[in-house]
């Protein structure tokens, strides 16, 4: 029975003596094979317990708010009398603000459809899996495209006087340029900006515009969709 040990089963830990190739990670494949599993916990009870706590916390907050904050109820619906201003639910006020500037086909149909399509294709079009920063290569071609898109957006929005879209667009656009001109800055915030890839910038721009439009539509629009200050 001493024959049993004439061969070895198992993996050598000496990479020079026994080279092993696990997988190639090329530029276009996901690096998920590298992913470390890390320590694991049993779902029962760890997940169940945490979710229960989250649920209880949420329930308390909801009940307290519902006790003190009454849902609004206006007059009986009257098709003959439009309240001034007539506002949609808050999550559509960004859309209503767009409808103020652009023709309904563009603001009401085209833009929402494009947003939904863009959201759906995100995981299929994001080929920048390594998360390479926007100005990682300091490519001048990329800079030309960036400035071109920015200029087209600027002119279009200015033509329609859509300045509540224009302001967040300009802000995000300018912030996007900062890491290009200050690549060696020591500031933590600039380092953070400089490490972000293109999809991050597009999504941040979208959120900035959506938040501005919703906030303006909710708080700053009065009769006839004119500008009012919420405190006056």
């Amino acid at each position: 029975m001493s024959e049993k040990n004439t061969f070895e089963v198992g993996l050598s830990s000496d990479a020079v003596k026994h080279p092993r190739r696990i997988v190639f990670i090329t530029r276009k494949t996901s690096a998920k094979v590298k992913e470390e599993v890390g320590p694991q916990l049993m779902s029962f009870p760890h997940v169940i317990l945490r979710e229960t706590i989250a649920f209880q916390f949420l329930a308390i907050v909801l009940v307290v708010l519902a006790l003190f904050w009454d849902a609004p109820l206006e007059q009986l619906a009257n098709p003959l009398l439009t309240p001034n201003p007539a506002k949609a639910p808050w999550y559509f006020l960004g859309l209503q603000e767009l409808l103020h500037y652009f023709p309904p086909l563009v603001a009401g149909v085209l833009l929402p459809t494009l947003v939904v399509l863009a959201l759906v294709v995100i995981p299929y079009f994001d080929i920048n899996i390594e998360g390479e920063p926007l100005w990682g290569h300091r490519s001048s071609r990329r800079m030309k495209i960036y400035l071109g898109v920015f200029a087209v957006l600027f002119v279009l929005l200015a033509l329609y006087d859509a300045w509540t879209v224009l302001v967040p667009t300009v802000l995000v656009g300018v912030f996007g340029l900062v890491p290009y001109f200050l690549p060696t800055s020591e500031s933590r915030f600039l380092k953070f900006l400089g490490s972000q890839p293109l999809p991050w910038w597009v999504m941040t721009w979208f959120i900035a515009v959506a938040l501005t439009l919703t906030a303006v539509g909710t708080f700053f629009r009065g009769p006839g969709w004119s500008w009012v200050w919420p405190w006056s």
């Binding site: 439009t82 007539a86 103020h100 309904p104």
Partner: protein, 166 residues
């Protein structure tokens, strides 16, 4: 030995019938399911479109021309219609904003018709003066009935130039 001849026979048959029985039945079944599905969809859409509607009538009487002073814009609230009278004559016009269907309001101070929803402004003639409204307010047919009262038909949209001379 006839063995080599035997496998040939089915091959010949396959050449004669390039579609196998299984494929044929699969396609028939798939086609039948598609047709049944489409039919069900069409029937459901048909079912969901009402044939008889209980909606308010579109023709109404608007009183006598004398009720409307010269150079006035009168809003008939029940019908959502403006009756405008100038020295040139009279016309009836929709009060529903062409943008998104809010009810507009006549502002005598600025001689404008204003929409409360998205800030569109119209002239007395219905033309767009400002805001996102894509079209002027439509004019409705306005005729003098035999009994001397005005009759407006909201289904019949007429040209802006058609003005009832009084």
């Amino acid at each position: 030995m006839n063995m080599p001849a035997e496998p040939k026979a089915p091959e010949k048959q396959e050449e004669k019938n390039p579609v196998s029985r299984r494929d044929f039945l699969n396609e028939i079944a798939g086609g039948a399911l598609t047709i049944a599905g489409l039919g069900a969809a069409v029937v459901t859409v048909k079912y969901a479109s009402p044939n008889v509607l209980f909606e308010p009538p579109t023709t109404f009487r608007a009183g006598s021309p004398d009720d409307y002073p010269v150079n006035s814009v009168t809003y008939l609230q029940d019908q959502q219609v403006y009756v405008v009278r100038t020295d040139r004559g009279m016309w009836a016009m929709s009060a529903v904003c062409t943008h998104l269907g809010c009810i507009t309001q006549w502002k005598p101070d600025s001689s404008q018709i204003a929409c409360p929803c998205h800030g569109s402004k119209f002239q007395r003639t219905g033309g767009v003066e400002a805001g996102p409204a894509p079209r002027p307010l439509p004019h409705f047919s306005l005729v003098l009935g035999e009994d001397g009262t005005l009759v407006v038909d909201k289904l019949e949209v007429v040209m802006e130039t058609e003005i009832l001379k009084v």
